[in-house]
Structure formats: C-alpha cells, structure tokens
Amino acid sequence: MSDLIHNLQLGFATSLSLLNIVLCLGGCLIGTLIGVLPGIGPIATIAMLLPITFNVDPTSALIMLAGIYYGAQYGGSTTAILVNIPGEATAVVTVLDGHPMARQGRAGIALGIAAIGSFIAGTISTLVVAALGVPLSELALWFGPPEYFSLMVLGLTLAIVLVQGSLLKAGSMVLLGLLLSTVGADLETGQDRLTFGLDELSDGIDFAVLAMGLFGFAEVLRNLQSFEAQPQVHTTIGRLLPSREDFKRALRPILRGTGLGSILGILPGNGAVLAPFASYALEKRIADDSSRFGRGAIEGVAGPEAANNAGAQTAFIPLLTLGIPPNAVMALMVGAMTIHGIIPGPQVINNRPDLFWGMVTSMWIGNLALLAINLPLVGLWVRLLRVPYRLMFPAILIFCCIGIYSINNRPGDVLLMAGFGIVGHSLFRLGFEPAPLLLGFVLGRLLEEKLRQALVLSRGSFLPFVTRPVSCGLLIVAVAVLIIALLPAVRKKRAEVSLS
C-alpha cells in the first residue's frame, strides 16, 4: 500500500509539471474535438500529431497523445446525444437513450451525466490501473481463442436484449452485421470475400463508414422526410445539468459500468468495445421498468458512458505492463514510445517508473480536465441544437464526408457511406433497428477469427469450448441471457393465445 502511495507521488510529481499539464489539457481538447467530428478518430489524429511530440520527452509526448484518446471518448458521446450520430464505436449505445433524452429537452442532463459518469469511471479505473495493473495483465494472457469466442457469443446475445421491437428482426440484424463483417480478405488464405471485385472492399468495411452511413446519413434522411422528427422542433433548453434525483438514479449504473469496462478493457483485440453494450444490457435487465429504455432512461446513458471510459483507461494496462497494444490506438502509442527510444515491454514499469506512473497519474488529471472542459460546454452544445436544420444537415453531411475520406484517404469510402445511408434509411422504413447490426458487425470479425484459430489449435475439435472453464462459463451465461430474454416473449405469446 505504501508502495502504491509512493509510486503515485512519483507519478504526480512527473505529471504535474507545467509542460505536462498544458500538454494534457491540449490533448484532451483536441481529443474532444476529434470525438465530436464524425469519421476522424483518435488514430488518425495521434498519427498526425506524432511529429509534434518529437521534441519533447517521451512521458510528455505520451501524456498528450493519451489525452487525445480519452478525450475522443467524451466527444463521441456528445454527437451521439445531440444528433443521434455516434462519433466513436463506443458511443453507439449512447444514442439509444441519449438522443431520446435530447429530444425531450434533457440534452443538458444527458451530456452532464455522461461527463460526470465518465469522470467517476476514470477515477476508479485509474486506481485499478495503478494498483492492479500487473496482475490484471496476467489475467489477459489467459484469454485464449476459445474464451474469446465464447465472450463474443455472449456479446451477441446482448443484442437481443438491446432492442425494443421484434426479437426476430433484431436477430436478423445481428446476423446481417455478422455477414457484413466477413467482407474483405480472409485471414487465413488472403482471398477476397464478398467484395464484388472491388479493391476498396478488400480490407473490409470500415466501422466508421458503416456507422456514419447507418446512423449519420440515415438520420439526416429521416429528419428531412419528416418535419416532426427534427430535433430542433421539440427542445426547450431545460435544465443544463443533472439534478440530485438524476444523479442518484445514475450512480449505481455508473459503478457497474465502471466494473464491466475495467475488465473488458484489458482484453486484447478490442474486447473493450463490448463494454458499453454489456452495460446497457445489464441496466435494462435489472431496471425496475425496462420499458423506459430506448425512450430516455438516464441509466442507459450513465452506465455505458462509464463503461467505455473505464475501458479506455484500462486498455493501457497491457500496453504498459506487457508491451502489447490491445487496440489500434494503443498500437500507435507503441510506435510513439518506440520512436522516442522506449520500447514497450514488461521492463518499462521497472526501468522507467517515471513514465509508467506519470502516465497513470496523468490519466486522472486528464479526466479531471475533461470534466472541467465538457461541463461548461454543455450549454454551448445545447444551443447548437437551435441552428435551423436546413443549415445543420449540410454541415453534418460535409463533416461526415471529410471525416470518412480522411480515414483511409479513399474517395470510395465516401461513396460507400452514402450507399449505407440508403440502406440504413430503407432498414428504418422497414422497421429494423441499426444498433444490433452494428454490434454484429463489430463483434463479427473477432468472432470468426477466434473461432477459426480455436479450431486450428484444437485440430477441428469443438470440445475445448466447453472443457475450458472460462469459456464454458461464458457460454453458460450466454445461454442464460438468451433464455431470460426469450421467456417473457414466450409467456406473452402464450397469454395472447390463451386470451383469444
């Protein structure tokens, strides 16, 4: 314990230097901006700002780059709440209840609770990183392909719980998302699959392209079709910040979300993206009145936001303790560290304690800075909703186009996004919901990869999925979730049948 305090002291001494505070703040600001803008994500930004960091020492460089990363998490939820467009993959769940809250005039409350929840999650998960970083990283190594596969199966069953409408339609959307995730070059043989001969698709469909198309484009289309649907019409600027009552409601979801996010963030291969979905599903399941979800339930914003911020912090654990990046942003951090002459690995924590603890403590400072930046901005964002829609939607469109183009510098991506926009709008008109599709898409790649890896390792046997304890446990939970979700529907059907 005293070791921890001593280390934290060392960390704060490093991170509280004027330069590091300025860099941290700058990173968070840029990150928030990036998160708000569609398409452009922390990866592109960090890659671009790498040269700027050449002239400062590695700890300072990493502090700034890390600020961009978790700043983007905050920013991504802002657009999700205001205009129903998730800025980041992790903000997809926030649109489900965050945007309805905005339409009810509670945008300020949603934004506020997102910021506060993220801060609480950030504080707790920073402590987790500090105290449990090393043992947790060992835990991550236990997750082999069978465990991962089972986790993904569990994640997919969560999709069933996410939707309000027909379960059959939700299931078909999940399957469609899975199908879309197979587009691209096959992992083992390198062959192109379902690409229609187009080179653009040979690396698969980019998540941002799909999300911007399904949510951004389709959302604009929907609003243009129906005047009543436009967000400006209904909002009065209500309370700007959450009330005590709101806060009491949101506290436990925040804590639960933090727990989920902290654990899932460590898993390599971007398992952290599952965290907000898991949190939403959990909150909906244990809520006293689950019909509130999808209509502006504050728990549906607080939990997932806390989960994704916690995941963003703990994603640093495998990077700093083992030198293995769990997702693409961390891979970039590896590059940044390497360029500065620090090759990430198990030794970093011993050889460069100032770097390790400086980063850990600056995580907390970053979260504090983000809270301080975002709470005052709530008023500004809410006012932005008053811009007439005829000006807002071209702005959204051009931001989407530029943002999507900037991901891979491929004009084809912009066209693909437009295509998905039409598809998304058609799906909406036919009564399908896009969120399960995105979930299926996001999980699909990992699901297939781990399934095939597990089968190669087991030489074709399906046994390890049930004989390995963690994998078996996860599958049991998945089956349980499915049963619990389907039971009310079965009971309802029975009631309907018996009534008639």
């Binding site: 199908l179 005829r390 071209p394 437009a418 295509g419 909406f428 095939r452």
Partner: protein
C-alpha cells in the same frame, strides 16, 4: 386476418440480401465444419439471414398491420413520391460528387459543390443563404481540417499543389 405489406417487403429484402451474398461467395471454399475455409461463415450467415427473411415474410401473412400512425415511420403521407425521393437522391448525389471531386479538384471545389447539392434535398433551402453557407463552411473546414488538424486532405491541387 390482414397482411402487413411492410413486413413482407422486409422479409423479401432480407432474402434478397442473402441471395446476393450466397452468389458472391459461391466460389469460396467452405471447408468442413472442423476445418473451416473462407467460405464457411459467409455461407452459413447468408443462409441464416435468408431464413429470417422467410420467417418474417411468413409472419406477415397473419400478423395484423399496425394502424396508419406507425405504419410508415417518418413519411409525411401528404407529400408525393418526388418529396420522398428528393432527400435521398440529392444527399447521395452530394456525397458522390464529393467523393469524385475531392482528389482531383480538392476541398475548395468539392466541399461547396457537395453542400449546395445537399441543400437541394430540403424544400426549406434558401438559395443565396446556401451559397454563403457553402463558402463559409468550406473556409471553416479548410481551416479546421487542414490548418489546425493537419489532415492530408487535398485542398486545391490545381492551385497550390496540395
């Protein structure tokens, strides 16, 4: 016992998507269940999607269609076909123009073009205002994306080389 045409269309669409996926993936080797090839999962998924489509379509045969209020979400029944098509056509056109023009002509041409075209998607557009807005927004985007964020996006290759 009335049919729900929307549900029937939904099921048909899913079937269509499944069929296209099966056709595209037909040359991939599925392997066996124990040794999966590249074609296994796409095929299985396509079949499942198709089955869902069939299920939804069948269900529509005896399910009562919800009343007018929720029947076609988002469409104002008073408007005609052109208003229904106007938004998608112009928005897709705007994005397409942007995609085609951004590399050869740069942001300063592609962006205002796309914005102006997209404003045509809404009947509330005011022409002169859209023009100013397009130019202003382009300038803002150039400053934001190119100057501030340093994105390698072509701004005006025919003028300044990048």
């Amino acid at each position: 016992m009335s049919r729900d045409p929307r549900e029937l269309t939904a099921g048909a669409c899913l079937l269509g998507i499944a069929a296209i996926a099966l056709w595209q993936g037909s040359d991939l080797d599925p392997g066996t269940l124990r040794q999966m090839g590249p074609g296994m999962l796409p095929r299985v998924l396509a079949v499942l999607v198709g089955l869902c489509g069939v299920a939804i379509g069948l269900r529509s045969l005896w399910q009562v269609a919800p009343q007018a209020a929720g029947a076609a979400p988002g469409a104002d029944p008073a408007r005609g076909t052109w208003s229904a098509l106007r938004a998608p056509v112009f928005l897709v056109l705007a994005a397409t123009v942007f995609g085609l023009c951004v590399r050869p002509l740069g942001l300063v041409i592609a962006s205002p073009l796309a914005i102006v075209i997209s404003t045509l998607a809404s009947p509330e557009t005011k022409r002169l205002e859209s023009l100013w807005f397009a130019l202003g927004m382009t300038a803002f985007c150039v400053v934001l994306f190119w100057t501030l964020l340093g994105l390698p996006i072509p701004v005006a290759p025919w003028l300044i080389g990048y």
